[in-house]
Homo-oligomer: 295 residues x 2
């Protein structure tokens, strides 16, 4: 049997996921639960860790424990302050915070990263730095679609900068609260997604092109079934155009995602002449923590 | 006493406003009420008109009656089909629909306008065509801020094209439903508005720059009191940049608005080196209908 070498914990807002990894970063055992940090009472973090991973901790008293994600935020176990970009894996590893997990044992928490664009506007992320490092790419861009999508730009193996797009939150909010939602008919017709990708390239910006969906339905150019996919294509297309423009021009593009959103980003990138490689969240997380352990 | 020459009615979604005008378009008398088309039962339009304007109609049996606004929409008295741009005042006047208002008397309803941009994407407006004509400008742009802001481009006195921006609806929705609303503190600090205008010029687009507000508060760059003005500046700045880029480069800029929004648009245009002239809605409406009567 392979010897465990690391207890790696992905502790986010809504989910708790722990992995027992071997020296090569392969998953030997895994547990997951709904004990995200929002569900943990103040001071309750050690108890949750003991309940979910106590058996592993007892069985393997000497392996390191590293956590990443919102567990290191202001509302988490302890605040692991943001490390400024650019940042190498070893600089991130060197900035980890430490917490006591009982019996004199320590766990480390990966810090989030902060960045500033040329105009000085700040951005932050927490958890995505570990996933981005886990892709192993030397030069290129890692895209993490979601409520707040992240585009992480990697140069010579270090995280150079990144940018957040509120794509998922805009989609959900605009569809449920504006005139666009009233026009939506289900089931969705994917033809609207391609129209949305096209609209993202046209002048006028988001607030103008979103209204075009309403007018197109009114004038019979588009069906109500296309409204939600159109809005998705418009928002993702805008994100992809801006993300590509803000990063370096070459290098790999890796998308870390599961489910239907994979297809949306693959299509949006293809419509801009770009090919992407897909990776799964668990694969990137475990590889990222294994890399930080060695760094 | 001046002789009345026109009964002009601005019948929108939520308000009913009627004006008795003289030959020069000056207001002799006015009434207004909450009888917007949403408050009128099917078939109830003649009765509302009789209640609000019956005395004027009886006193002046020969003057023309012209209505504009959502009264000419699918949910109004009768649908006055959209007239395609470009459109002169006389072409719009020639496309008016007619309804029977009792005693063999007719009223006319101004049609809305439709347009298509270079890529074929459609846009529509109803009511704003009358206000735009009422500015009397020969070449330039008329801006009508609101839930769905309109930018109307006028060339040689005719309405050449226009564009809608969902600025007001995005503002209200994003502020009440997203992470931005949770950060907002009142009272508002207007310093955020200028920061939002600046952010609109930076790369990344709306979904990225909106997140910058959240990060700026988190990192102490901005106070919660600046969040709402920042979002307003970001959205209005984006609208102004896109609107100026989509129209002709020269000519007058007229903003038709009342209240606090006047200041926001004046500042946003000034930040882009443009001066605007302000006009009041009533003034533009009555001048617009007087112009359509003569056309």
């Amino acid at each position: 049997m392979t010897t465990p070498a690391l207890l790696a914990i992905d502790w986010g807002t809504t989910r708790f996921r722990a992995y027992l990894l071997d020296r090569a970063g392969a998953v030997l055992e895994r547990v997951s639960s709904d004990d995200g940090i929002m569900a943990v009472k103040p001071g309750g973090f050690p108890a949750v860790l003991a309940i979910r991973c106590g058996m592993w901790l007892a069985r393997h008293p000497d392996i390191p424990v590293i956590m990443a994600g919102m567990v290191g935020s202001r509302n988490g176990w302890i605040e692991a302050p943001y490390r400024a970009c650019p940042a190498t894996a070893s600089e991130i590893a060197g900035a980890m915070a430490e917490v006591d997990i009982g019996n004199g044992r320590k766990a480390r928490i990966v810090p989030g990263l902060s960045t500033r664009d040329a105009a000085g506007a700040p951005d932050v992320m927490r958890g995505e730095e570990t996933l981005a490092l886990g892709t192993g790419i030397e030069n290129g861009t890692v895209i993490l679609p979601g409520t707040h999508s992240k585009w992480v730009h990697i140069e010579s193996g270090k995280i150079k900068s990144f940018a957040t797009f509120m794509t998922g939150e805009f989609y959900a909010t605009l569809l449920s609260q504006t005139i666009l939602g009233k026009l939506r008919e289900e089931p969705d017709d994917a033809a609207g997604f391609t129209k949305g990708l096209e609209a993202a390239k046209r002048p006028g910006g988001l607030t103008h092109q979103a209204f075009a969906a309403r007018t197109s339905v009114l004038l019979g150019d588009m069906s109500g079934h296309e409204v939600a996919p159109f809005l998705s294509g418009l928002l993702i297309g805008s994100e992809v155009d801006a993300g590509l423009a803000m990063g370096q021009s070459g290098g790999d593009i890796v998308v870390i995602a599961e489910g239907i959103i994979v297809d949306s980003y693959t299509k949006a990138l293809a419509a801009r002449g770009r090919v992407c490689r897909l990776m799964a969240t668990e694969e990137c997380f475990t590889a990222g923590l294994a890399r930080l352990l060695k760094a």
